[in-house]
Structures are given as structure tokens and as C-alpha cells.
């Protein structure tokens, strides 16, 4: 049975290389660093695949008011922890796009548009997208990102969505791809490979 797509944000600003989305979500639905998402582009002809590299909890006056109160009630604290939607901003690196021909591991022809929905990629979609590791060079070449930590998190998660029997082979192959990218920097490669270990 296919999973229901989880709306995690709406696009607020974007470029071909990356996009940023904002939303208010329950804590359980806040996406994780290194997970994949998708946003509609080209009037629905394609979907940009994003890799979440930053999650910010935005300013919230109500939470601040309760934080500084002398003696907030347990119910108010619980409300803010459990029920209130958390205002978040997520930043996503474009690592590919999907079209009728399948996935392409390159920058998309067009970015998503303002207020387009951003959905989390389902486990099946993550498995399908990471059948190829061709998105890895795009992560390494993105300036100003914690590329090693981002890749480690993303590859670990991509392994977890696979059957147990395939996880080790997937991570070994991921290590090989990273080794090719970091051939001249053994110390960095060593750190990254250690982070890949489950």
C-alpha cells in the first residue's frame, strides 16, 4: 500500500540549486536533516528532489512568552510541546528531478515556484531515487554546506529504508562512490565512512 504524501512546507524562495520552504508542523512531522523531499516544478511536468540540509525553528512569540513566564501551567507547557504547530523553515539542496522518463541526477531545468507544496519523499521513493548514487557529486560540489555530515545522514537513512539484507551492500557501494569523490583527502573520507556505519 502506498504511503500518503506528507506535506512538510510550502516554498518561500528558490533557485535552481536550492529551495527554502516554511510551514507549521506538529513535532512528529518535522522532517529530519538529510532526508529527501520533493516539490512540483514546470507546472507539474517535473518534481525537484531536495535534500534537507538545514532546519530552523522559527521565532514564536507565544512560546517565548510561556518560556519567560514565572509559573506556566503544566497544561500550557504540554500544549506547546505536543499540540502547537512548530513554525519551521527547511532548506533543501536540489539533487535531481523526476519526470516521465524517471529520475535525473542533475540540477532541474526550473526551480519550484513560490508557495508550491513540499512533500517528504516516501520510503519507496527514497529507495527508487537512491538506486543510483549520481546525486552524490552534487552534494559535494554545493558550497557552504556541511556536505560530509549531510551525505552521511542521507545515505544512512537511504540504507534504512531498504530490506535488512540489502543495507550493508548499499552502504559499501555508497562508501565507494564517496571514495572516488574524496580520493585526494583520505582523512576526510575516513571520517565520512565512519559516519556511514549504522
Amino acid at each position: 500500500m502506498s504511503e500518503k504524501a506528507v506535506l512538510i512546507a510550502r516554498v518561500t524562495r528558490c533557485s535552481t540549486r536550492s529551495f527554502v520552504g516554511a510551514s507549521r508542523l506538529p513535532e512528529a512531522d518535522v522532517p529530519t536533516f538529510g532526508s529527501f523531499c520533493k516539490a512540483r516544478a514546470q507546472r507539474g511536468q517535473s518534481e525537484v528532489i531536495g535534500l534537507i540540509y538545514d532546519i530552523r525553528i522559527e521565532d514564536d512569540e507565544m512560546a517565548r512568552q510561556i518560556a519567560i513566564a514565572a509559573d506556566p501551567s503544566q497544561e500550557q507547557l504540554a500544549d506547546n510541546r505536543v499540540s502547537r504547530l512548530i513554525p519551521i523553515e527547511i532548506s533543501c539542496l536540489a539533487v535531481g528531478y523526476s519526470s516521465q522518463d524517471g529520475y535525473a541526477y542533475a540540477l532541474p531545468p526550473q526551480p519550484p515556484m513560490t508557495l508550491d507544496d513540499v512533500f517528504a519523499l516516501s520510503r519507496d521513493e527514497v529507495m527508487a531515487f537512491t538506486q543510483s548514487m549520481d546525486f552524490v557529486p552534487l552534494v559535494f560540489s554545493a558550497p557552504g554546506l556541511p556536505a560530509d555530515e549531510l551525505l552521511a545522514a542521507c545515505l544512512r537513512y537511504s540504507a534504512e529504508v531498504r530490506p535488512q539484507s540489502e543495507q550493508r551492500a548499499f552502504l559499501v557501494e555508497a562508501g565507494r562512490v564517496c571514495a572516488r569523490q574524496l580520493a585526494g583527502d583520505v582523512a576526510r573520507l575516513d571520517r565520512l565512512v565512519r559516519n556511514l556505519a549504522p
Binding site: 510550502r10 507565544m62 512568552q65 510561556i66 513566564a69 509559573d71 506556566p72 501551567s73 503544566q74 497544561e75 500550557q76 504540554a78 500544549d79 510541546r81 505536543v82 499540540s83 502547537r84 513560490t114 508557495l115 507544496d117
Partner: protein
């Protein structure tokens, strides 16, 4: 930003100067008003009632109740556990420039079980109205904003009633972020009467349902600008034979508000005595829900709120105390009832929500072969909203 602030500076200076002068004048009047409150409390009840009767049905003053009008009441004890429910509504009005004709009402609500330590129950119930009978009630043209607001008010009361039913087991306070008199019934508007009657009937049914559960009901008005009590003080100062429309219309306290008066009288947490609201109370009285009100110092930064309660709460000391103490507890952290702040948050329909709704609608229309577009005017407004640039307009000399 298109507003030319530098051009407005001289006017802003004038406005600030005027506000300072007015504040000094009001400060001078307040001791007189306080004195009038104490004097009015000394007048025989029958004498005051005679004056109120003479003022007639159009007079918008307050009628005293069984509590002496200058008495103040300290915060009552709270039960160890009690429930507070808040509901608030938001709407999208019909818009002829939009993708399609519809209106939407969204009701946010929250139930806080004080003393449980548990997270409150929260809900948001949106309802879309698009059928011809919704849009064109009584064939009198497109539904007005006032009628949509009336429907929203009735939906808020219905939600409080629904939630009060599920909280029967312990003391419960249901709160609205507004006065309890249905706004649309207080307006002399050219509205389809049958529609107003339906809304009023739904609203009163909700009030009755809350009463039947044993819960208290209160309407919370933040920063009220009313002066019903000051009108009473002026009336009390007039000789009976001098009472007429002209002498009632102009009075020495007309730029003061009851809030200013009671800000000087009420210590934190205390409430004023109760008053009955005149004159727009007849329908509610007939249905057993005459409205009374009191002023309450909410305990934070000299905040004086007006709290409206039905007679069946006002005259039941347990329910009245729960309303008084429950509101204070709710205001302790947020300065206004927490449940109302949260209900508003759950109800509010933002501009981006509206755009998302219309995108979804557009997709569904296209799937059915209907190509619909917003008007050119609305489109142009969105262009400038999405990328406002500094104006190049030069200021007039």
C-alpha cells in the same frame, strides 16, 4: 512600502499633541467620575430605576443588579481541577474577484483540563459554503459580510456547546473572544430578517445547550471602549424631570470609558459589580439569557477586561466565581485567556492558506474541464503584493 511616512510627520506630531492634551483632560475628569460612582451607589434603588425608565428604550446605559455598583470583589478560590474551553472563528468572505464564489468559516477550539497536566485537546473545523442558497439567501443578492460573520458567531457558540457536553464531569467554563450579544442583532442593517432570525435561533440554542450541561459561559472583551456605566452615572446626576434625549446625549464623561474608571478602582484580580446590559437585550432575555457584565482587572499591567455572562451564570455564585477565577488563571501567563489566544491561532485563515485553498480548487475545477481564473484586478493586486518596491512618487511641496 507605499505609505509616505515623512509626509505624515507633521500630522503625526499634531496627533501626539492632541492625545497628550486629551489624556490630561481625561485625567482631570476621572476623580469626578469616581466620586459619581460612589454617589450613585447611595441613591435609592427605586429612584434610580425611575430615572432609567424615564431614559427610555434607546438609552445605552447599564442597569444595576443586586450588587451595589461601587463594590469590588476579590478573586475567588479555584477548584483543584476544572475545564476551560475556548472557541474562535475566522472566515473568508465571498469575493467576486476570486476563482469562484464561495465563503468559508473556520472554527478553532481548545479544551484545557486544568490540574490534569495533560496537553489540551485542540481542533479546527473548516466549512465551505458554495451552494446557491448559501450564497444568495432570500434572493437578495450575494450574502453580506455581516451575515457571514453572524454565521461564524453562531458556529463558535455551537462549538462551545459541543465541547461543554463532553466536559460535563467537572466544573467547566466556556469562553468566547467577544461579547455575548450577537453582533448582527445589535446592528440596524438592511439584512434579510429571516436569515438573522435563523442565526439568532442557532446562537441561542447553543447558549441553552451550554446552560443544560451546567457549564459557565463568558464573553471576554479585551480593551473595551464602552461607557455604559458612565452613562448610568450621568443619568443618576440628572433630576428626574430633566431627563430627555438632549440631556442624555451630552454628558461630562463622554470621552471617558468604563475601563478608565475601573482601572482606578480595581486592584489586580478583582472584579467590579455586575450590571445589566441595555437596551439590546430583549431577545436574549425572552430566551432566558439576559446578558450582564462586569469589569475585571486581569492581573497583568493594569489590564481591565469586560466580561459578559448570561443571567444564569451571573446569579449562580458557583458559576460566577468559576468565571471570575477561571479567567484570571487563564490570563496569568498570556495576559488574556490562553484558550482564546490558542483558539484564534487554530482558527485564523492566513493569506497563504487562502492561496493554497484556491490552488486546490483550481486543480479540481480543471480536472472537471472548468477553466476559472481570478479577476484581472485581483491578479494585479497579487503582483504588487508579492514584490512591492519603493515608490518613486515625489512628495507634494
Amino acid at each position: 512600502m507605499s505609505l509616505d511616512i515623512p509626509q505624515l510627520i507633521p500630522q503625526l506630531q499634531g496627533m501626539a499633541q492632541s492625545a497628550a492634551e486629551q489624556a490630561a483632560e481625561l485625567e482631570r475628569l476621572l476623580p469626578k467620575a469616581e466620586q459619581a460612582l460612589d454617589s450613585c451607589a447611595m441613591i435609592e434603588a427605586q429612584e434610580l430605576m425611575d430615572k432609567i425608565l424615564r431614559a427610555g428604550s434607546r438609552w445605552r446605559g447599564a442597569r444595576p443588579t443586586d450588587e451595589s455598583i461601587n463594590t469590588i470583589f476579590p478573586p475567588p478560590e479555584l477548584p483543584d481541577s476544572f475545564t476551560v474551553i475556548g472557541a474562535d472563528g475566522s472566515q473568508i468572505f465571498t469575493d467576486r474577484h476570486a476563482l469562484a464564489l464561495y465563503f468559508l468559516i473556520n472554527i478553532g477550539s481548545i479544551v484545557v483540563a486544568h490540574g490534569s497536566g495533560e496537553a489540551p485537546l485542540v481542533a479546527s473545523h473548516p466549512e465551505l459554503f458554495y451552494e446557491q442558497q448559501d450564497l444568495y439567501p432570500e434572493m437578495m443578492g450575494l450574502i453580506s459580510s455581516a451575515l457571514v460573520s453572524g454565521k461564524r458567531d453562531a458556529a463558535e457558540m455551537a462549538e462551545l456547546a459541543r465541547l461543554s457536553e463532553s466536559a460535563r464531569s467537572q466544573p467547566t467554563l466556556a469562553l468566547l473572544d467577544n461579547g455575548l450579544l450577537l453582533w448582527i442583532t445589535t446592528q440596524e442593517l438592511d439584512q434579510p430578517t429571516a436569515q438573522v432570525e435563523i442565526i439568532k435561533s442557532d446562537y441561542l440554542r447553543g447558549m441553552q445547550a451550554i446552560r443544560d450541561t451546567g457549564a459557565a459561559l463568558g464573553g471576554y472583551i479585551d480593551r473595551p471602549r464602552t461607557s455604559n456605566v458612565l452613562r448610568l452615572l450621568h443619568l443618576a446626576e440628572l433630576p428626574l424631570e430633566a431627563i430627555n434625549d438632549e440631556t442624555l446625549r451630552v454628558h461630562p464623561y463622554q470621552h471617558l470609558t468604563d475601563r478608565m474608571l475601573f482601572a482606578r478602582r480595581l486592584p489586580p484580580g478583582h472584579r467590579s459589580s455586575r450590571f445589566e446590559l441595555l437596551p439590546s437585550n430583549q431577545d436574549f432575555s425572552r430566551a432566558g439569557h439576559s446578558i450582564q457584565f462586569f469589569y475585571l482587572h486581569t492581573g497583568t499591567q493594569d489590564q481591565i477586561a469586560r466580561v459578559e455572562v448570561p443571567g444564569w451564570v451571573a446569579e449562580n455564585s458557583k458559576l460566577l466565581d468559576l468565571t471570575h477565577a477561571g479567567i484570571l488563571e487563564e490570563c496569568r501567563v498570556t495576559g488574556m485567556p490562553y484558550v482564546l489566544a490558542r483558539a484564534h491561532e487554530l482558527a485564523v485563515v492566513s493569506q497563504s492558506d487562502r492561496q493554497a485553498l484556491e490552488r486546490a480548487l483550481n486543480t479540481l475545477l480543471l480536472e472537471r474541464g472548468i477553466r476559472s481564473e481570478i479577476s484581472q484586478k485581483e491578479l494585479a493586486k497579487r503582483w504588487v503584493r508579492s514584490g512591492q518596491r519603493p515608490s518613486r512618487r515625489s512628495s507634494l511641496p
